[in-house]
């Protein structure tokens, strides 16, 4: 489970080479420093400066404006509420899955794993669109089925509600919690559980009293990621929350960009999100610092069979239910809508069409959007991985005296929610001398910064497993440090680099929160088009484009798994 795990602390290993300078080496490190300063440090500093800027000079007016209305404050509060509720629901939904996976012989594990990967690759705003088709008031398929079966006047669910919003967001957050917790569970020595059982505790007793506290840090880490991701979510609340008049900070931020544009106020308004994130990361450190769970990383044993067959089948049924709600029903609904003249009508020959796809493929907007998304995702993934390996190497091998500062800087954007980062890049690069607003370049730069922590984390964990002597052997045979990186580090980290690249690609091709602030008419992406189409009410076209996005993602995932020899959500070191 290396992909989501971002190490906050690591010990540098080895003693650095006495000297290793050369012109080429110097150039590499100079450009790494420049890149970090340009795409991480500068936008964050500029965002803060920008929030105090007015035409007349320095001012607090932006803050008065941003926090001067009840509606704005309410949106912030709603974001916290939304984040907390989603995290809670996702955790409750994911825990039985993770426990069943790690501790029982429940059937269908391969299928469930594939299903969770499917859940992971479906962006939650696309899931939200699908759930409009499923549980929109009156017109949604589930509601119509209910009305037909019971003769009721009204549908059972209204997806345009706080509950609906939380439910959909939580469904697509399940994989994050699952990955953290099942990884935590496999690290807990089963001897601790056996010890409790010897003392007379039952299956449930052991799970609740021993296992749960031991994996609490893992659960907390998963919750943290989900919470931070959710409060920065733009697409899902825009699709499901706005019709219910449920305003959140992310949506409110974009409102500041409507005429008259109050970008400075948006900058001020986005800063509390950074504060919340920092607070949460600090809390994580404090919680982890007080109790030592070092013993948890004891001997890992494949301890399965903690539950009776009946329990295992219940768990299996539960997993199937979750996957049906998260993947099967939404994808089926999208597919049906994509091939329908009108999504609400039944699946008859008259309603069957491929015009949605032909319209999509003939539309210059869609063509350009797909092209933009592919280019942006590929470039951002390449940048992030290239920068990540450089900074991780500099930190792990203490290439020069100050190189350890690369660590916190590379992880810095972790504390910046996507929407905030978007505004940071807007403030940093939209004006002279850069004038990059509306270009693909600015989106690529923003994504490179946003996903750098993933690439960095993956490289750090990979580098930790490569002994310094492998490189010293190169040096002692007459190779420079660059030679050793090229011939030893990169080939040995190949799988880490590839999995980081694929992960960044998948996350980048569907990213919406950053794009909404940076895209212009020429640089719109698939994600933005999806939002436009669904807001314009053209759900058939939305569904068709959504399927295209899923198809691209799936091809990359499958190609990646073939190259990696394992699935993306499983630990790299066990491959």
């Amino acid at each position: 489970m290396t992909i989501f795990q971002i190490p906050f602390r690591h010990s540098g290993s080895g003693i650095k080479g006495a000297t290793g300078s050369g012109l080429a080496t110097g150039l590499v490190w100079a450009s790494v420093v420049a890149a970090l300063a340009f795409i991480v440090v500068y936008p964050i500093v500029k965002l803060i400066v920008f929030s105090f800027t007015a035409r007349t000079g320095a001012t607090f007016d932006n803050y008065f404006y941003a926090f001067g209305r009840v509606r704005y404050l309410e949106a912030l509060w709603n974001s916290l509420l939304y984040g907390a509720a989603t995290t809670l629901v996702a955790t409750l939904l994911a825990l039985p899955l993770a426990w069943g996976f790690a501790r029982t012989k429940m059937p269908g594990k391969t299928l469930i794993r594939a299903g969770l990967l499917g859940t992971f690759v479906i962006p939650s705003y696309l899931g939200a669109v699908a759930w409009i088709l499923l549980a929109g008031p009156n017109a949604g398929w589930i509601n119509r089925a209910w009305m037909f079966l019971s003769g009721a006047e009204n549908g059972l669910f209204n997806i345009y509600s706080f509950g609906g919003l939380v439910f959909v967001s939580a469904l697509y957050a399940i994989p994050y919690i699952f990955v953290y917790v099942s990884d935590g569970l496999s690290a807990v020595s089963s001897e601790m559980e056996d010890a409790a059982r010897m003392l007379g505790a039952g299956t449930i007793g052991v799970a609740v009293k021993i296992t749960l506290p031991l994996v609490a840090p893992a659960i907390f880490n998963g919750c943290l990621i989900v919470f931070l991701d959710t409060i920065a979510l733009f697409g899902t609340p825009a699709v499901l929350g706005l019709p219910a008049h449920f305003n959140v900070a992310a949506v409110q931020l974009l409102e500041f960009f409507e005429y008259p544009v109050r970008a400075e106020a948006a900058a001020a308004y986005s800063l509390p999100l950074i504060a919340i994130t920092c607070l949460a990361l600090w809390l994580q450190r404090v919680l982890r610092g007080r109790r030592s769970y070092e013993s948890v990383t004891g001997r890992t044993s494949a301890h399965v069979g903690a539950a009776s067959p009946a329990v295992e089948w219940i768990l299996f049924a539960y997993a199937m239910l979750i996957l049906t709600l998260a993947v099967v029903l939404p994808v089926a609904c999208l597919a049906k809508a994509a091939f329908s003249v009108a999504w609400g009508r039944p699946l008859t020959l008259a309603n069957l069409t491929i015009t949605n796809f032909s319209e999509l493929l003939s539309s210059t907007d869609a063509q350009r959007g797909i092209g933009n998304s592919l280019a942006i995702a590929a470039l951002a993934a390449t940048n992030a991985v290239a920068l990540g390996i450089c900074t991780a190497y500099a930190v792990a091998r203490r290439v020069f005296p100050m190189s350890s500062v690369f660590g916190p800087i590379s992880l810095g954007t972790l504390a910046i929610p996507g929407i905030t980062l978007g505004i940071g890049f807007y403030s940093a690069f939209s004006t002279a001398p850069f004038r990059l607003y509306g270009t693909i370049t600015i989106i690529v730069l923003a994504f490179s910064a946003r996903f750098l922590p993933i690439a960095y984390g993956s490289c750090v964990s990979g580098l930790a497993a490569i002994g310094t002597q492998l490189e010293e052997a190169v040096r002692s045979l007459g190779g420079s440090q660059l030679t050793s990186v090229r011939h030893v580090i990169v080939p040995l980290l190949r799988k880490h680099l590839l999995s980081a690249w694929i992960l960044v690609f998948i996350l980048a091709i569907r990213e919406l929160s950053v794009v909404v602030f940076l895209a212009g008419p020429g640089s719109r992406t698939i994600s933005m088009l999806l939002l436009d189409y669904s807001e314009g009410g053209n759900l058939e076209l939305t569904a068709a484009l959504g399927l295209v996005l899923l198809a691209i993602t799936l091809i990359v995932v499958i190609a990646g798994q073939a190259l990696l020899g394992r699935d993306l959500l499983s630990p790299a070191d066990k491959s």
């Binding site: 002692s476 007459g478 190779g479 080939p491």
Partner: protein
């Protein structure tokens, strides 16, 4: 001097002290030091290594031997003193040549074979860096693999080899580039006892075949003794003694060396007129032929358990067969049989001195038996 035991090593008579002083040393460490913060790892180390010589740095863990080797290799910069190669300074506290520019090759404790390259690719790597043409590379790799007896395994990956085979690949990879100096960092510590013996013969054989100047770091006394021309014994960052293996054993200069190389008895003594007085016996000064006349005051002697022999008191005549050997009455206190030898602890008839004595399996004595010890003063070494 003809009557004293010969201490110069049979293996390297040409490397007697005169020869080393005359030739330009391949490598010289002068007042070399390294500290990490307040902790001094290596202190004022002076060492000259001749071309083609095989030297071991031997000492307990934490004695600074690995730090010294890594300074020579270029992975650690000294904080004091200099390292010279062929009279050119390659490292000092101010400047240090990077490891790749030193013409030395290091073999690591972990072997550090690159897991993604085959055996042949591992061995060829150094040649590729030296821009050797492909035909010559494949010829030299083949020859080298033959030399280390791995001819058929060129296509394997390191993970598919046994520990001993990996060690041979590491040797081949290092030697194939014909380094001026070969550095070995505890190369045998990951092998089991039998393989270790085999590989230490192998390392010496390859050294004799390719005649590289070699520095071996080890904490294993047998490994150093069996392979080296000279051994530098290190303790707490300092050089205790630099000598041939036999000289270290026969003439240790310090208590540490006497204890570290084999086992020994320590005997305290004081000079009194023409006699050297021990606890329970005394020896006239002129019998310490090797020491000359310069010693005086109180001193401690090291006497190896193997240098003492035991005779039954009845069998021993009044006078020893060799005039130089002393006969001292004693009583056997403890006996222990180790299969290859007996070990006795004896108490001298007069005084409180106890001595450890090692005897052949056939020389059996019982606890409490009264015996005569034969001690040769020429084998007693004064230690500081």
């Amino acid at each position: 001097m003809s009557e004293i035991p010969k201490v110069s090593d049979h293996r390297a008579p040409q490397l007697g002290s005169g020869a080393i002083a005359d030739a330009v040393p391949r490598l010289a460490l002068r007042a070399l030091g390294r500290s990490f913060g307040d902790e001094v790892a290596v202190d004022d180390l002076n060492l000259e290594i001749a071309k083609g010589e095989f030297i071991s740095l031997l000492g307990p863990s934490g004695c600074g031997k690995t730090t010294t080797l890594r300074m020579i290799a270029g992975f650690i910069q000294p904080t004091a003193g200099v390292i010279e190669k062929d009279r050119v300074i390659i490292a000092s506290a101010k400047r240090a040549l990077p490891p790749e520019k030193r013409g030395m090759v290091m073999i690591f404790q972990s072997y550090a074979l690159w897991p993604h390259k085959t055996v042949a690719e591992n061995v060829a790597f150094g040649l590729r860096l030296r821009k050797v043409d492909n035909a010559a590379i494949s010829r030299r790799v083949t020859e080298m693999l033959q030399a280390v007896k791995l001819d058929s395994l060129g296509g394997r990956y390191p993970a598919e080899l046994s520990g001993g085979q990996q060690q041979r690949v590491a040797l081949a990879r290092a030697i194939v580039v014909e380094p001026a100096v070969l550095l070995l960092d505890e190369p045998l510590s990951n092998l089991d006892a039998n393989l270790r013996e085999e590989m230490r013969v192998e390392i010496r054989r390859l050294h004799d075949k390719f005649k590289m100047t070699t520095i071996l770091v080890t904490h294993d006394q047998a490994e150093a003794m069996a392979t080296s021309d000279r051994i530098a014994i290190m303790n707490k960052g300092k050089l205790e003694q630099l000598d041939t293996p036999l000289a270290l054993y026969a003439w240790p200069k310090t208590r540490f060396v006497a204890n570290f190389i084999g086992r020994t008895n320590f005997l305290d003594a004081r000079c009194d007129g023409t006699d050297v007085v021990f606890d329970g016996f005394s020896i006239t000064r002129e019998r310490f032929v090797r020491l000359g006349r310069e010693f005086s005051g109180r001193l401690t002697f090291s006497l190896r358990p193997q240098s003492i022999s035991i005779e039954c008191r009845k069998a021993a005549g009044v006078t020893p067969r060799d005039e130089a050997v002393l006969c001292i009455p004693a009583t056997v206190l403890e006996t222990a049989f180790f299969g290859e030898y007996w070990e006795y602890v004896v108490a001298l008839a007069v005084g409180a001195q106890r001595l450890r004595v090692v005897c052949r399996p056939s020389e059996t004595f019982d606890a409490g038996q009264e015996v005569v010890l034969n001690i040769d003063p020429r084998q007693m070494a004064p230690v500081a």
